[in-house]
Symmetry: C2
Subunit: 478 residues, 2 copies
């Protein structure tokens, strides 16, 4: 940061009544106008989404300060964009021009962990891994584990209704959100939900805000339900010569009433990308690999054997159990590396490191998983783009990752076409355009197709009821 | 039904343009104006709630017919009250004057059961027990099991977000609702949610409608998630000399990370009422009885032993396991008889069978259960009314049942005061005014206290956004 920049920044401050109001309410240190910082807060991790440098980034520390920011933005007619760790994959956290970006990172306190009532109360800026670790030390378990769990915040997880690998058995973020504190467009503070295991007092406003991607209010406190710590898990790998066989195995695992705590699929593209990124001894000649785990205690060995049988019957080329917890952890680590490994693979696929990924996210009913995998392969061939597939097979939630050359408009165009074809296929199979990444900017058109004109009008009516001036995160979702 | 009545009814039909429109849309057999039938559809099972005879009861068979009914009611400015089996306990299904009561009982088809994707699609009039039985025959499990499960409908369960005994392990209705078809106030048909295990496309409208008690639209189709069939369960009884000890045992069971599939509490009043209603050999000298079950397969015996240890450590007078499935079923049956047994007990407690029950429903964080039980005993003493307590102890969700003499205004007044004191106590303990029965007419004031003026305004804004003319179930919830 140079002196010149500092002077420019101070100069802006002096001339903007909005910035003056924000500084008066929050103090200078929580109101950031350094150009480097502003650029850093321009966008999340989604490709292909528009963004703009914000006017200012604020880091309130309390609900009262959030309320003051909202009132100031409303007074001056400035759009307000809430941000957590900006790890989102749909552009929902991208700034728009002249926006006040409200970062929740300074609201990072765990306020309470109650082992008897099995709840925790946290501020939105608490990192997922921090909460998961803190409750684990109390013998408890906060399941939602998005790929970004080591950096993403609970507030961001709530706003996107984040998923992860545990969901096949333990469900997504919304299953764990009991109550919220939210600052509304009026600056008023709304408390939703409860601290109790059950409750039906009034409309389920909690779940209306979960997954609303910052378009209805700013979440300032989250009460989550916790589970007892799960038992240790056993892990299995099944290697297939075709993705269709792997898909059929997943359907049979469900049909037989088995309940794995993890059921992930990696295709050959991802296996090769991971081996290139960090050699782990994965079978790169396989077309698909299923990674399954069970955490059913004394029954786990039996359940694992039944999953192995199903995989063999579905045509698996090789099935083996992890010999110990160290090997199981290494396999899980390999799965977790899929995203950075594919990023590297894509970058190196084109000259000058110009390769990029269009990360898709589609979910179909479990019974249609094999059809989805077949269809994605067909789309890749028809559109002439490499597509790797990885994801939460047990939930029917896959991430087709489309490799494009960012420097080549024709390649980008082919990638976008493949993206649209996959969305169309997902809906045709009775699925949804987003299983866990959200709508943001990336999938507004596909959301509209999925929910239809009546659904769009109901969304608009609710948005208008809660945010009549369109203050919060304009242009997202709808 | 006399000829005179029939003539009166036909006469009304001839003179009401609304009835003429309804008959034109649905045919004569689905438009009921017989005075006996109208009176039968006046109210649900809640006491102390206002009701009025409807103008007409309609029984549409299709979504299109529901839409026609909604449009006709809107056109003629008649309030529309949706009804399922009228087993509700908060007056949410009570008719208002001149209402069109829309009964969903003729929409009673199970449209689909898919064992691989683990979903079922049903019309709203399907009875809970019918669905539960149908999926059980496919080796699957639909958990929500409200006390009324043998007669209440899925549509009613969705509208009230019904609970039950399974919730302590398996959650309430909303956890199982993946998607809905809803007829809106405009008569348009909205589809919410999805058929997939995961999905984050847009606002969670599904869960906005679940628990909205018919105030936002008429549910015409429900897509539910199913689970694999649970393993057989083992059952245990723990007898306590004080309710506080039983409450402490519940807290310790939670604190030790045990996950019973059932954890119910009956107090002495209920034990005696059940023994009087149908002798089962229950210990009527006990102050409280805990009924616990575990369905953790090969681990179940160990888990049951640990629950037994916790109960003994908390001071249980006697702990014993059911010797077989027959005894376990009998114990469950005893618990299920609590409601009719207390109705009988209350009726006989006052001359002329004039005794009645005010059935309350309060939930507190599990750690506060003992305090709630103590407090209810104090309220009973202070208000001078008998109060029996029964409920879902593992969820902190109790039903204090207040015994009153309906013929004695002073007794009714004392009962109402006790009801209010229990609500106040529940909120003071960090709880909610309704754990599973809903708001309806019975708890509108307490809902307003619980959610505060900001919460009320948000509720009103959402109601106005979806039902601007106040067509659906006027006067309920808000």
């Amino acid at each position: 940061m140079t002196d010149v920049r500092r002077r420019v920044s101070l100069c802006c401050v002096a001339t903007s009544p909005l910035l003056a109001d924000l500084r008066a309410a929050l103090g200078d240190d929580a109101v950031l106008t350094d150009p480097d910082l502003l650029r850093m807060h321009e966008r999340d991790e989604a490709d292909l989404c528009a963004s703009a440098t914000p006017l200012v980034v604020v880091r309130p520390r309390t609900t009262e300060e959030v309320s003051a920011v909202v009132r100031a933005a409303a007074r001056h007619g400035a759009p307000l964009v809430p941000q957590g760790a900006r790890t989102g994959l749909a552009g929902a956290a991208n700034s728009v021009a002249d926006a006040v970006v409200l970062s929740t990172v300074a609201m990072d306190r765990i306020l309470e962990i109650d082992p008897v009532s099995r709840i925790a109360v946290v501020q939105p800026g608490v990192v997922n891994a921090t909460l998961a670790g803190a409750v684990r030390r109390e013998g408890l378990y906060y399941p939602p584990d998005p790929g970004s769990w080591e950096s993403s915040t609970i507030g961001g997880n709530v706003s996107t209704n984040a998923g992860g690998m545990c969901c096949v058995k333990y469900g997504v973020t919304t299953e764990y959100v009991l109550g919220l504190e939210v600052v509304l467009a009026s600056g008023e503070v709304l408390r939703t939900g409860r601290r109790t295991a059950k409750g039906v007092a009034g409309y389920d406003l909690t779940r209306l805000f979960v997954g609303s991607e910052g378009t209805l209010g700013v979440v300032t406190e989250v009460t989550v339900a916790l589970r007892p710590a799960p038992e240790e898990s056993l892990t299995l790998v099944a290697v297939f010569d075709s993705t269709a066989e792997a898909g059929a195995a997943v359907a049979q695992i469900a049909a037989k009433g088995l309940a794995p705590s993890l059921l992930e699929l990696l295709d050959r593209t991802h296996l090769r990308a991971i081996e290139a990124y960090r050699p782990m001894g994965l079978r790169t000649d396989a077309q698909a690999l299923l990674l399954a785990a069970v955490d059913t205690g004394s029954r786990a060995a039996d359940d694992l054997a039944r999953i192995a049988e199903v995989c063999e019957a579905a045509g698996a080329d090789e099935v083996y159990a992890a010999s110990d917890a160290v090997e199981a952890a290494a396999l899980l680590q390999a799965r977790r590396m899929a995203h950075p490994a594919m990023e590297r693979f894509a970058a190196e696929a084109y000259p000058g490191g110009n390769g990029g990924l269009i990360i898709d996210d589609v979910a179909v009913p479990r019974g249609s998983l094999a059809a989805l995998l077949d269809g994605v392969a067909r789309v890749a061939a028809e559109c002439g783009v490499p597509i790797g597939v990885v994801g939460h097979a047990g939930d029917g939630n896959m991430h087709p990752n489309i490799v494009v050359d960012r420097a080549d408009p024709a390649s980008l165009e082919r990638g976008r076409r493949a993206f649209d074809e996959i969305m169309r296929l997902g809906l045709e199979l009775g699925g949804t355009c987003t299983g866990e990444h959200g709508v943001g900017l990336l999938k507004r058109d596909w959301l509209a197709r999925e929910i239809g004109p009546v659904g769009v009008r109901v969304h608009q009516a609710i948005k208008a009821a809660l945010d009549p001036e369109g203050l919060f995160n304009p242009g997202k979702v709808l």
